[in-house]
C-alpha cells in the first residue's frame, strides 16, 4: 500500500528567512487585537456581565423573530438580543442585567414566560446575578494567568530561560489573537471561551515544546551551525509531525463543530482557530524569537538542559 505523504521527506524550507515578514505581521495583528479589545470590546456573555439567557423552541413552525422582538422588546427589560440559534424554530433571547440586584434578574424570566405563554418550549434558562458574574470574570482571568505562569515555570525548569520566555511569548500571542477573533466576530465570550483559551494555551505550548525539544537536541549535536540554519533545520525536521498532529486535531474539532450542536459551536470554533494560530506561532514566533533572546549553540553545553538531554 502506498502511504499518503503530507510533507515531503526532506524539506529545506527557509522559515527563518521569512521572519522579517512574519514577526512584524504577528506583532501588528497582536497590537490590532489588543486595540480591538479595548475599542470594540468583547461580546461578553451573561457569565461575565450578568443577565439572563433563554433558549426557546417554537411549537408550531419556524419562529417569527421580528414578532418575538416586538413582544419581548416591549417588556421594558432594556437591551434584548434575539437571534436564531441552530434550527429555524430555535431562538436565543439574551437580556442584559437588570438594575436592582439579584432579585430583579429573576423577574425577567417570569415576565418573558408570561408574555410568550405556552406557544414555546423553554429549552434552556440561565440567570447570572451580579455577584456571581463578577466572581466568574475574576476567576476566569486568574485561571488563564495562572496556567501561563505555571507553564512558564515548567519550561524554565526543563529548558533554559530563553526557551521559557519564547514559549510564553508564543502562547500569549495565541491568546491575544484568539481574543482578537472574539472581538472581530463578536462571538459570545463566556465561561467555555475561557476553557477554549486554556486548551489553546495547552495545545500551543505542546506544539512549541516539540519544536524546542528538537532545537535543543540539534544545539547539542551541531555546535558549529549558525543559529538561523539550526532553527530552520529543526522546524523542517518536525514539520511533518506538526502538520500531522494539527490535521488530526482539526479533523476531530471540525467534526465537533459541524455535528456537536449549537451550544458548543463558538467554543469549538475558538479551539479550531487556536490550533491554527498555535501551529503558526510555534513555527514563526516561538522559533525566531530565540534568535533575539540570544539562544546560541554554545550556550547549550554545560548547562542543566544539555546534561538532561545527554542522558536520554
Amino acid at each position: 500500500m502506498r502511504l499518503l505523504r503530507l510533507v515531503p521527506d526532506d524539506t529545506h524550507i527557509g522559515f527563518m528567512r521569512l521572519r522579517r515578514i512574519t514577526l512584524p505581521l504577528s506583532a501588528t495583528l497582536s497590537v490590532l487585537s489588543i486595540v480591538l479589545f479595548f475599542v470594540v470590546g468583547l461580546n461578553f456573555g451573561i457569565d461575565f456581565r450578568g443577565g439572563s439567557l433563554i433558549e426557546i423552541q417554537t411549537k408550531d413552525g419556524p419562529a417569527n423573530i421580528s414578532e418575538l422582538r416586538q413582544t419581548v422588546g416591549g417588556l421594558g427589560l432594556g437591551d434584548v438580543q434575539i437571534q436564531e440559534f441552530g434550527a429555524p424554530d430555535e431562538v436565543l433571547i439574551r437580556v442584559v442585567q437588570q438594575e436592582g440586584g439579584e432579585l430583579a434578574q429573576q423577574a425577567v424570566i417570569s415576565k418573558i414566560r408570561e408574555a410568550l405563554g405556552d406557544t414555546v418550549d423553554y429549552r434552556r434558562v440561565e440567570i447570572v446575578g451580579p455577584t456571581v458574574s463578577a466572581e466568574l470574570a475574576r476567576t476566569g482571568t486568574i485561571a488563564v494567568l495562572a496556567s501561563i505562569l505555571a507553564i512558564l515555570i515548567y519550561i524554565w525548569f526543563r529548558f533554559e530561560w530563553q526557551y521559557a520566555i519564547g514559549a510564553v511569548i508564543a502562547t500569549v500571542h495565541d491568546v491575544i489573537m484568539t481574543i482578537g477573533v472574539f472581538a472581530v466576530l463578536q462571538l459570545d465570550f463566556n465561561l467555555s471561551s475561557i476553557a477554549a483559551i486554556l486548551t489553546i494555551v495547552g495545545y500551543s505550548l505542546n506544539d512549541t515544546v516539540v519544536v524546542y525539544d528538537r532545537i535543543r537536541e540539534n544545539v547539542r549535536r551541531y555546535r558549529k551551525m549558525p543559529m538561523t540554519d539550526l532553527l530552520d533545520l529543526s522546524v523542517n525536521q518536525t514539520l511533518s509531525r506538526t502538520i500531522m498532529t494539527s490535521l488530526t486535531t482539526l479533523l476531530a474539532l471540525i467534526a465537533l463543530y459541524v455535528f456537536g450542536g449549537e451550544v458548543i459551536r463558538s467554543f469549538v470554533f475558538a479551539m479550531i482557530w487556536g490550533v491554527l494560530v498555535g501551529t503558526f506561532s510555534s513555527i514563526y514566533v516561538a522559533s525566531p524569537i530565540l534568535l533575539y533572546l540570544g539562544a546560541k549553540p554554545e550556550s547549550g553545553s554545560g548547562s542543566k538542559a544539555a546534561v538532561a538531554a545527554e542522558g536520554t
Binding site: 433558549e55 439579584e102 447570572v128 495547552g202
Partner: protein
C-alpha cells in the same frame, strides 16, 4: 525498548482489560446493569445537568438579615431585662451590629451592665477552649451602654444559618419527589442546589425561596388598621398586609401567640363545608397548651395567621381551640395548599435565601446535545482512524488500536470515578482523540527519521520510541498543567472538560507509549522485519 518483561505485559493487558470492562456498563440500560453478577463493574457515567436536563441554582443566605435578626433580638432582650430590673432607660436602639441604650439614672449604670451581661454567651465549642463571647458590653460614665456583636459571633451565626437552611431546603426538595437532588454548601454563605430532570424550575424556586415563617398572632383592635396606616401604630403592633389583590392592611400585635416551630404536622386537605383547599395542622403539646389558653381567654377576638409577614387569614375565635389542631384556609389552589403544607412541615428558613445564579436545561435540549455529541465523537474518530491508516499504513492500524483502548480507558475511568459527563466533557474526549495520535505521530516520525539515517528496522523502532519519550512527556505535561488549573479554578461544565482532558492525557501517555509499543514489539518478534513500513 522492544523487550517487555513478562509481568509488564500482564500488567498492561490487565489495565486495558479493566478499562474496557469498566466501559461496558455504559452501552446497556441501567436495568440490565443491575442484573449483572457483582464482579462486573456497574457504574455508568453520570450525565451532567446540561445533558440530562435539570436545574442548577446557587443561593446565598441573606447574612444581613441574619445579623439584623440577631441585633433585634438583642435589643428586645435588653428591653426585657431593664424592665424586669426596673432600671429607667431611654434611646434603646438597634444599629448595624450593636445595640445602644442610655440609663436615666447614672448611678444605676453598673447595675444595668451587670444585668445585661447575662445576654453575653460564650461562643465556640468547649473543645477549642475559646473564651470569646458573642456580645461585648461597654459603658460610659454618662450612662451610655453599647452592646456589640463580635465578628466571631456573626460568622458563627451565619454558618449555622447556612447549615440549618441546607437541612430545610433538603426537606422541602425531598417532598417534590425528584430523583437524586444534590444540595451542597459552597463557601461561607452559599448553597448550591442541583435537581436533575426538572423542566420547570419555577415551583422549585418558589418552594426553596420562601422563608416560611409562620406565626399566630392577635389582631390589634385598639384602633382601625386604616387609622394606623395614616397615623402611628402602637409600638407593640405592626401593620401587615393580606395576600389579596389589592392587599388589605391589618394591625397585628408583634407578640407571637404560637409560632410555626410548634407545629408537628401539616397536611393539605379540603374544608368539609365549603370544599375549598385548606391546610390542616397539629401543634406539639406546649404549642397546643399555649394556643388553648390564648383562645380560651379571647373568644370573639380575631387572630391572624401570618406567613412571612403576610396575613393569610384572620378568623375570629368562636370557641376555644383545645385539641391542638386547626386549619388554615385562604383561597388556596390545590397546589398552593400542598406547597404550604410542605413548607410548614419542613420548617422556616433562618433567613431569606437570595438566588445568585440559575441554569436550567430542558430534557429535550439535553437529549439533543447527547445525540449531537455522540455523532460528533463517532465521526471525528472515524475521520482520524482513516487518516492514520492512510498516512502510516499498518502502523496506523496499531495506533488506532491504541486509540480505541485510549477512549475505552477514558470512559472507563470516568465511569469508575462516578464523574459527571458534560457537553464540554464530550468536547474533551473528542479533543483527546485528536491529541492522542500526536504521541504516536511523534514516535512514528522519529522512526522514519532514524530509518532514513540508515539504521536497521529494529534499531530505528527502538531509538524512535526512546528519543520521542522526552518530547511526549514535555508536550503532555504542559497540557496537563492547563487542565489541572482549569479544574481548580473552573466550575461546573468547565470542570467536566478539565477532568476528561486530564484523564485523556494520562491515558494517552499509557496507550501511546506502552500499549502501542507492546503491539509493535509483538509484530517485530513475529515478523522479524528488515524495514519498517512507514
Amino acid at each position: 525498548m522492544l523487550h517487555f518483561a513478562r509481568w509488564t505485559v500482564i500488567l498492561i493487558i490487565a489495565i486495558c482489560a479493566a478499562g474496557i470492562l469498566a466501559t461496558i456498563p455504559n452501552f446497556v440500560s441501567k436495568q440490565e446493569v443491575e442484573s449483572w453478577p457483582s464482579w462486573i463493574p456497574h457504574r455508568q457515567l453520570v450525565l451532567g445537568l446540561d445533558l440530562q436536563g435539570g436545574s442548577h441554582i446557587l443561593m446565598a443566605v441573606d447574612t444581613d438579615a441574619v445579623i439584623k435578626e440577631r441585633v433585634d433580638t438583642l435589643r428586645d432582650d435588653a428591653r426585657q431585662i431593664l424592665r424586669d430590673k426596673r432600671i429607667g432607660y431611654t434611646g434603646l436602639a438597634a444599629h448595624d451590629r450593636s445595640v445602644s441604650v442610655r440609663i436615666r439614672d447614672v448611678a444605676q449604670t453598673d447595675e444595668a451592665v451587670k444585668a445585661l451581661r447575662d445576654l453575653s454567651q460564650p461562643i465556640g465549642s468547649i473543645l477549642t477552649g475559646s473564651t470569646a463571647r458573642d456580645v461585648t458590653i461597654q459603658s460610659t460614665p454618662e450612662g451610655q451602654i453599647t452592646l456589640d456583636l463580635s465578628e466571631e459571633a456573626i460568622t458563627q451565626r451565619v454558618s449555622s444559618a447556612v447549615d440549618q437552611s441546607i437541612e430545610i431546603v433538603r426537606r422541602r426538595i425531598d417532598e417534590l419527589g425528584t430523583t437524586e437532588p444534590s444540595i451542597q454548601r459552597q463557601g461561607a454563605d452559599r448553597i448550591l442546589v442541583q435537581v436533575p430532570g426538572l423542566d420547570d424550575p419555577a415551583r422549585l424556586k418558589a418552594l426553596i425561596g420562601q422563608t416560611a415563617k409562620l406565626t399566630f398572632r392577635f389582631v390589634d383592635l385598639s384602633m382601625p388598621a386604616t387609622e394606623a396606616l395614616n397615623g402611628r401604630p402602637p409600638p407593640e403592633s405592626e401593620l401587615l398586609y393580606s395576600q389579596d389583590d389589592p392587599p388589605a392592611p391589618y394591625l397585628i400585635e408583634k407578640r407571637v401567640m404560637v409560632s410555626g416551630e410548634d407545629l408537628v404536622d401539616a397536611q393539605p386537605g379540603f374544608d368539609q363545608r365549603t370544599n375549598e383547599p385548606i391546610v390542616s395542622f397539629r401543634f406539639n403539646s406546649s404549642g397546643a397548651r399555649r394556643f388553648a389558653a390564648a383562645t380560651q381567654q379571647n373568644v370573639g377576638r380575631p387572630f391572624a395567621i401570618v406567613l412571612d409577614n403576610e396575613v393569610i387569614s384572620a378568623p375570629v375565635i368562636r370557641e376555644p381551640i383545645l385539641g391542638g389542631s386547626g386549619q388554615i384556609s385562604g383561597d388556596f389552589t390545590v397546589e398552593e395548599a400542598n406547597d404550604l403544607a410542605i413548607l410548614l412541615r419542613a420548617g422556616a428558613l433562618p433567613a431569606p435565601l437570595t438566588i445568585l445564579e440559575e441554569r436550567t436545561v430542558g430534557p429535550g435540549l439535553g437529549a439533543d446535545s447527547v445525540e449531537a455529541g455522540k455523532i460528533a465523537a463517532v465521526i471525528g474518530t472515524i475521520a482520524v482512524v482513516i487518516f492514520m491508516i492512510a498516512v502510516y499504513g499498518l502502523f496506523g492500524v496499531f495506533a488506532n488500536i491504541a486509540l480505541f483502548i485510549n477512549i475505552a480507558l477514558v470512559i472507563g475511568i470516568l465511569s469508575v470515578l462516578g464523574a459527571t459527563l458534560t457537553l464540554p466533557g464530550i468536547a474533551g474526549i473528542v479533543l483527546t482523540v485528536g491529541m492522542a495520535v500526536d504521541a504516536n505521530v511523534l514516535i512514528y516520525e522519529r522512526i522514519r527519521e532514524e530509518q532514513k539515517a540508515g539504521k536497521s528496522a529494529i534499531a530505528s523502532i527502538d531509538s524512535g520510541y526512546r528519543r520521542a519519550l522526552s518530547t511526549i512527556m514535555d508536550a503532555n505535561i504542559t497540557t496537563l498543567i492547563a487542565a489541572v488549573i482549569l479544574f481548580y479554578l473552573g466550575s461546573g461544565p468547565i470542570r467536566g472538560f478539565a477532568i476528561t482532558l486530564a484523564i485523556g492525557i494520562v491515558t494517552t501517555l499509557f496507550t501511546a507509549y506502552l500499549v502501542n509499543r507492546l503491539i509493535v514489539a509483538e509484530w517485530v518478534r513475529l515478523r522479524r522485519p528488515s524495514a519498517v513500513p512507514i
